[in-house]
């Protein structure tokens, strides 16, 4: 059957390229595998050529898929489910990308695109490592390709295809009007597309520029963790156990910089557009991306230890492998829907849990198989892996699947321990490597604790229990990490002053004495004048915060000093110090902004209007502002001035004016909210903030009047008045100034014999404000039309009802809460948040400087 108005070509091309990418990545994986295994040079070269050709084909296909899907979204081809589900006609062009990666399919594609780019760089620079490393990357590409394939293999659906048509997706199956004879059992009408006028639109909370730029960076970070992993596996596979370290190091640094920036860009998005009240909420999705980064940092330090001293090679293996394994585990957590109960922003279950589990399974056991000692062991490992897969598939206890993964990891660790050489001699306690290793361990264990707590839903499903997060989960995270911060800050400050292998005490103290002294003074000053009184968790915690603040000051100062004391100001060499300096700032920024965060909108009871009910004694964090009525909030007088609507959307902007009582500071914030968006009752708010050098003022709408509930039921109270007469109302009085009859009215509008009267009133409120009200009454074309006037902040409406021949009037007066226009908002002050953002940027720059230096070193070593 042909349907009218469909554009089928892009979808057909898309399907073609998906199949092509599947085949190409399969061929690339196989050929690279053969190129690695082959002992004969000409054979290896042949396979490598084929593999490169396939990988480039794969790259072209992935880019084509990406381009076609973008074309579909951008041209509003709503016959495709992806476009219909994630975009709409009114969506601004800049958000087209955001809706591209809103869905699972789009974000998998993003991941895949980055793998392609990284793969091309590896082909160019990999030399002898190209074949084994690219085997891993191509295999990852194969796995991701199946995620968007949407094909059936033995009744098992593989992946979710982004090019599926709306009419094939099942969405329209229950819409009788779109079917022939209004019968859902019959075919769709040929012109069904004429009823699909607009898409579902991008979730309003994602309509934010951070959502356009942070996923690509974050996914580049995720994608790049495969490179250190692939190098480590390649080392085990080719039995060149230590040679991989040097080429892998710049990649590890790159990955850490990009992933770190990506995570914090996500934090910035949460800060700027979500109403969590901050940049970090220990949400499972945030944790899941932090954990691989922490392990990666441990990886970098152990790799560095190895390159300088020969120690900790085994740990370098483990951390490089585990950081990628935890990327895969995070993928499972956030995309399987298992976090449904605990996270506010995981993806929904697309029925791909088996596939997501397999992703983890294949990479762990794949690494176990290729790292086996000889062919015999390889075959044995393979048989065990296959047997476990069958067991996990057919034994209906999730714990079996979990054990299968853990066993795989155990085998990998066993192979590392068994085969990778190590130094028996103990590190000296005065050596740099010893303390670097301690730092790495702390990072790793912090990662394990975070992922352990985050995995509670997984534990529930494995053990078939139902445990819920404890009341104080957040403070648990904070209590642990305040100590992690203290130790890491001190290690960051001190360790660079130690030399590799052995440090003499004199040398150490001679260099370190000066920065330590300065830091003690500076740290004491910051703590003393910093006014840090975070008392939610008791005095011990506050003490820990003070200590941590002082220690991070130490990290900042000691690392800046080291650039001169240790490296004589050579910036090229000081990547490490710069990134540690940045990291010190990150810690300091986190500590200061979190512990000194203030809620400005603290409020006792309701607004100071007497509604006859006793005000509640409890303080709350939200404040209601009546339009036009200034309220005290911290040092500000805050007024809700006006609001305006988005021209195309059900989105309102609220103009909130802040005026300081103590100085001349004055500004307006424009928080906005989607109200009853797309027929969904309720609202979704977006914050607005004012940035200062030392702090941010941050506000968002937390409640709005409900128009239905506030139906105006009060009646007008009519009085007869003459000019000069006074009327009292509950909160003041008003005086009728005079009664004016307007003349020379346009006959076109008023018709013959029309009239218009105005009755200006001067109103004196008990609060001291004076207003003018001008109700009007028109007689037009034989009909009376009243135009009442309102003072919203007083809840007062007056209506001119009649003008008598003796120039007295009948005035209707009404007092009603329903005329009040108000917003409820929450406002915060975030001090020193810029320290955090600056710290992130400096850390990333420092890491990238190190990366460049390592690349140069590798090059000159080869020459």
């Amino acid at each position: 059957m042909d349907y009218i108005g469909e554009h089928l070509l892009p979808g057909q091309l898309g399907h073609f390229f998906i199949v092509l990418s599947l085949v190409a990545s399969l061929v690339a994986t196989f050929s690279y595998y053969k190129a690695t295994q082959s002992k004969i040079d000409t054979d290896a070269a042949y396979w490598k050529r084929l593999a490169r050709f396939s990988f480039i084909t794969e790259t072209i296909s992935v880019f084509a898929i990406f381009g076609i899907l973008f074309y579909i979204i951008q041209h509003h081809l709503f016959e495709y489910k992806y476009a219909w589900q994630h975009s709409s006609l009114s969506l601004e062009f800049k958000y087209m990308f955001a809706c591209f990666w809103e869905g699972q399919e789009g974000s998998f594609l993003l991941w895949s695109v980055w793998h392609c780019v990284l793969g091309l760089v590896l082909i160019k620079t990999g030399k002898s490592w190209e074949a084994p490393v690219m085997t891993v990357v191509s295999f990852a590409q194969l796995c991701i390709a199946t995620m968007i394939a949407g094909i059936y293999i033995f009744d098992q659906k593989m992946g979710s295809n982004p090019f599926i048509l709306l009419r094939d997706s099942g969405v329209l199956d229950n819409a009788p009007a779109l079917h022939l004879n209004f019968d859902v059992n019959q075919a769709l009408k040929p012109d069904y597309m004429s009823s699909i006028k607009d898409g579902n639109d991008l979730n309003p909370l994602l309509q934010n520029y951070w959502m356009v730029i942070h996923p690509p960076v974050l996914f580049l970070g995720f994608a790049s963790t495969i490179v250190p992993f692939a190098f480590a596996v390649a080392g085990l596979w080719t039995k060149k156990f230590s040679e991989w370290i040097k080429p892998a190091l710049p990649w590890t640094l790159f990955s850490a910089a990009v992933l770190g920036v990506g995570i914090m860009m996500g934090a910035a998005w949460a800060y700027e557009s979500l109403t969590f009240g901050g940049y970090w909420a220990w949400d499972p999705v945030e944790n899941a991306s932090l954990v691989p980064w922490l392990i990666l940092i441990a990886g970098i330090h152990t790799v560095l230890i190895y390159t300088h001293t020969g120690y900790s090679l085994r740990s370098a293996y483990l951390f490089c492998i585990l950081s990628f394994v935890f990327v895969l585990y995070s993928t499972f957590l956030t995309r399987s829907g298992i976090l449904g109960e605990t996270s506010v922003h995981a993806f929904t279950d697309l029925g791909m849990n088996v596939q997501l589990y397999l992703l983890l399974y294949l990479f762990i056991w794949g690494a176990a198989i290729v790292s086996a000692k000889d062919l015999n062991q390889k075959v044995t490992t393979f048989v065990v892996a296959a047997a476990l897969a069958v067991a996990a598939r057919y034994i209906p206890y999730p714990v079996v699947s979990f054990i299968a993964l853990i066993l795989g990891l155990v085998v990998v660790i066993y192979q590392v321990q068994k085969q990778v050489p190590t130094i028996i001699k103990e590190e000296s306690g005065s050596s740099r490597e010893f303390w670097m290793y301690i730092g790495s361990l702390i990072f790793f264990l912090s990662a394990m604790v975070i992922i352990g707590i985050t995995s509670l839903p997984v534990l529930n499903s494995i053990l078939n229990i139902k445990k819920a997060a404890p009341e104080n989960q957040e403070s648990l995270y904070n209590q642990i990490h305040i100590f992690v911060a203290i130790i890491i800050a001190v290690l960051t400050a001190v360790t660079q002053y130690l030399k590799y292998k052995e440090t003499s005490r004199r040398f150490f103290w001679k260099k370190l004495a000066f920065p330590t002294f300065i830091s003690m003074v500076a740290g004491a000053l910051v703590v003393y004048f910093g006014n840090i009184n975070y008392n939610k968790e008791g005095p011990a915690f506050l003490g820990a915060i003070w200590l941590a603040v002082a220690c991070s000051v130490y990290a900042v100062i000691a690392n800046v000093s080291y650039i001169w004391l240790g490296l004589k100001g050579k910036l090229k060499l000081s990547g490490g110090s710069i990134s540690h300096f940045g990291f010190g700032l990150v810690l300091l920024g986190i500590l200061l902004s979190s512990s000194k965060k203030e809620i400005l909108s603290y409020n006792i009871g309701g607004i100071p209007i007497d509604f006859g009910t006793e005000s509640k004694e409890k303080t709350g964090e939200n404040l209601t502002l009546v339009k036009g009525l200034p309220m005290k909030m911290g040092k500000f007088d805050v007024t809700y001035v006006s609001d305006s609507a988005h021209p195309k959307k059900q989105q309102w902007y609220y103009r909130i004016h802040f005026k300081s009582r103590t100085d001349n500071e004055e500004f307006t914030l424009l928080p906005n909210a989607f109200v009853n968006y797309k027929g969904n009752e309720g609202m979704m708010a977006n914050p607005d903030s004012r940035h200062y050098f030392t702090h941010d003022i941050f506000t968002y709408i937390s409640a709005l009047p409900n128009p239905e509930k506030n139906q105006d039921t009060t009646k007008f109270n009519t009085r007869t008045l003459k000019a000069g007469d006074t009327v009292f109302y509950s909160r003041g009085w008003m005086i009728l100034q005079n009664v004016v009859a307007k003349d020379s009215l346009p006959e076109k509008i008023f018709g013959p014999g029309g009239s218009l009267h105005e009755a200006p009133l001067k109103m004196f409120s008990k609060s001291g404000s004076i207003f003018t009200l001008t109700p009007r009454l028109a007689f037009s074309r034989g009909e009376f039309l009243a135009a009442p006037d309102t003072i919203p902040s007083e809840g007062l409406v007056v209506k001119l009802e009649k003008v008598n021949p003796d120039n007295s009037i009948e005035l209707g007066v009404k007092e009603s809460g329903a005329v009040l226009e108000y917003v409820t908002l929450k406002a915060y002050k975030f001090p020193f948040i810029n320290v955090l953002w600056a710290g992130i940027i400096i850390t990333a720059i420092g890491i990238l400087i190190s990366m460049v230096r390592r690349i140069q070193l590798n090059r000159s070593a080869k020459e």
């Binding site: 449904g340 445990k467 797309k678 969904n680």
Partner: protein
Amino acid sequence: MKKIHIVLLVFIAGAIAVLISFLQTTATYDTVQTAKDKPGKFVHLMARWDKSQPMEYDALKDPNYLSFIATDTLGQSVKVIYRNPKPENFEISEKLVLKGKYTTDGYFECKSIQTKCPSKYKDDMSAAQKKVQGASETYPTNTETK
């Protein structure tokens, strides 16, 4: 034994201790009845907002006071007080996870509400379907022509 091994063991023991203590502090998912059975204990109450009962929230009186009746799947109800504005998506959520305690004063003092709805961050199939059907409501839906 190397120094580093000792440190390693101490750290790992610390991490395990933290995780075990975490497991011991975990709360439980409860129904109205089981939450009432342990007043003063922090629980996750799984329930729905009972829309047939009035909800009390007036931002003018007090923006930090929301009170409503929650009903669980077993049909039992409890009064909930939440000292915050109405959470986003409260109206459209199908299920609420109410984190808090049942008090001896006979109501559920809620510390945080997690709304479970099909739309937030999630692919909204059912609401979208409704929309397609809604768009076509102008057509007669029960005519039969043979």
